[in-house]
Symmetry: C2
Subunit: 354 residues, 2 copies
């Protein structure tokens, strides 16, 4: 007969439940885990006792024995960037579906923190890891080769030594440049992210490709390197303006920077899109709420998260033998108010940024 005992200090264990239900601890374990080898009657009695005693299985004990934690980790470079939050939501959702916990880690893009994240795998804190890395994972290469469990990298990989999901961001940048031309821009500026990161060099490459592919004579493209934040974009645009650079179309390496840049441009008396058309990349939700709404190139964040989670759970599902797989998603142009075509293409000459 189960009775509602309030135990003092000691935690209630499987043994307590066993005693209360007059069975062995082994039986309790089987019953609570829904083994078919236990009679319905016994299972129900055990369940009642467990509930009455408010039994909660000790996670550490179980995972020590089973070598499984039912937890995965997601390491992002910056928890303040909405695009990673987007990925986190998707991954979280899929993890929940599979009854896994999600450990969210913000690495602040520091390699030491990234290595630390990989170590949680070795320490058996988590069963698998999805990591978003901006360094082309080159710094992680060594750690990655000896890693102690399934890892999926979102981002670029020197060699494909583990599953990874990328986006054709060079193509995305080209898409953006072409769009700026299409809406009537002729003098383009390009605010890139920090040098040495893979996203930055890919975007650079995409811009170059677009220029080469264009029939028209090459318009001057200017660059300013800043970090991937709103403040970075703001500073970069101010810098461009201070140098007296003349442009009527601006591509920023991501939306956060574009939002910062728009603010700087407007503070400088420039109208968007009449004087300068602005486009970002990522297509974060905020794009819809700026004035004017910010055009962007979607880098399919949610989709990348979904694919990464899928790859990871494939591995966790036992598919550990097969070779690393690489998935690449294609960017999609999202034109909005910040790049609406000039009504009067001829009026372009009137522009000026003062």
């Amino acid at each position: 007969m189960p009775q509602s005992i309030r135990p003092g200090e000691r935690r209630v264990t499987i043994t307590d439940v066993a005693k209360a239900a007059n069975v062995s601890s082994a039986t309790v374990s089987l019953a609570l885990n829904g083994s078919p080898r236990i009679s319905v009657e016994t299972r129900q009695r055990v369940e009642r006792c467990a509930r009455a005693l408010r039994y909660q299985p000790n996670h550490a004990a179980a995972s020590l024995r089973t070598q499984v934690t039912r937890t995965i980790a997601l390491a992002v470079p910056d928890i303040g960037n909405p695009v990673y939050i987007e990925i986190a939501r998707t991954v979280q959702q899929i993890a929940r579906q599979r009854a896994y916990h999600l450990h969210l880690i913000s690495t602040e893009s520091q390699p030491s923190e990234e290595v630390h994240a990989l170590e949680t795998l070795a320490q058996r804190s988590v069963d698998g890891l999805i990591m978003i890395s901006l360094h082309g994972a080159s710094a992680l290469d060594a750690s990655l080769r000896e890693v102690a469990g399934p890892v999926v990298i979102i981002g670029h990989l020197q060699d494909v030594i583990c599953d990874n999901v990328t986006v054709a961001s060079a193509a995305g940048a080209a898409l953006a440049i072409q769009h700026l031309w299409a809406v009537g821009c002729s003098a383009l500026a390009f605010v890139n992210g920090p040098a040495g990161t893979w996203p930055s060099s890919e975007r650079e490459k995409g811009v170059q490709n677009a220029l080469r592919a264009a029939d028209q004579t090459i318009s001057p493209v200017l660059r300013a390197e800043e970090d991937f934040t709103t403040e970075g974009g703001h500073r970069a645009a101010q810098h461009l303006l201070a140098q007296g650079v003349c442009f009527d179309g601006l591509l920023c390496a991501n939306d956060l920077m574009a939002i910062g840049a728009m603010r700087a441009l407007r503070a400088h008396g420039l109208r968007i899109p009449e004087d300068v058309a602005v486009i970002g990349m990522d297509d974060i939700r905020e794009c819809q709420f700026t004035t004017p709404p910010l055009s962007s190139v979607s880098l399919m964040a949610g989709e990348r998260g979904r694919l990464a989670a899928q790859l990871l759970f494939d591995r966790l599902g036992g598919d550990s033998g097969t070779l690393p797989r690489q998935l690449t998603v294609s960017p999609v142009l999202m034109p909005r108010g910040s790049t609406t075509p000039r009504r009067t293409p001829a009026a372009r000459d009137e522009r000026g940024h003062l």
Copy 2:
């Protein structure tokens, strides 16, 4: 002599290190944990061997033995809301300082998920928990009373049965209303959040108080209940407009809603702040990047995170006997472009929202 062995499948344990270093596993444990009772010489040898074998302590085993995980959890209602991210960053930072891991959980405001978060405590997955709850924790009351470890609630608590930090959001709402009057508004509208949540009822109360306290005759205050998202604010504003409601000042229950509302107002041909002054609450970073910049009432998110973490770590530091403490922070008005005073107060009569 340590040698760089590449073990096959089996994980390398403390025993492997012990063998390699010709000591017992106990000694390895002591040495690696920096016990002073181990000779320097031995410690260094052990450390060399551990490194050579790439030994990583098994977290489950250690925490099973010590009953400590060095992990805390933070449960937020919605990971998509920047204000919770702000709190998460602060908590993360403090946790890192103390060499604790942070488990971030998004409850989507579902009581079942909140209870689940509490259970991770009982399961010994984490040592402590900070939870942001909108329900006034009344649904959690029962679970909270029997909780198996230190908990800090950010938000309202029916009875102060555990540490908690709140913000005087009623006072904040009053602050906002007074500000709208101060800048020359006379007909106010108020878009509140979902009914039944503590933040909503507090804001309502604050608005009422401000009205009562005002000498002037009471201006009509209108309300629309929506959820705490940009979309919610957008819908609410559209609704107000569609009903032909006349107002020149708008308070939204949070910034996300205010941003959505501004978009709807502008789409309706209204100028901000000339036709309608708009103010939100929370003071999220995005406020600075809207057009015009959104006035807000800071609810001190970062500060609340910091205090909560502090309370929690006090408990984890052994201070478990003392009574629950309750901390309340005061809101701060952050006036920006969306509520700049009318140049010509008389011109108010000209306003109209079509």
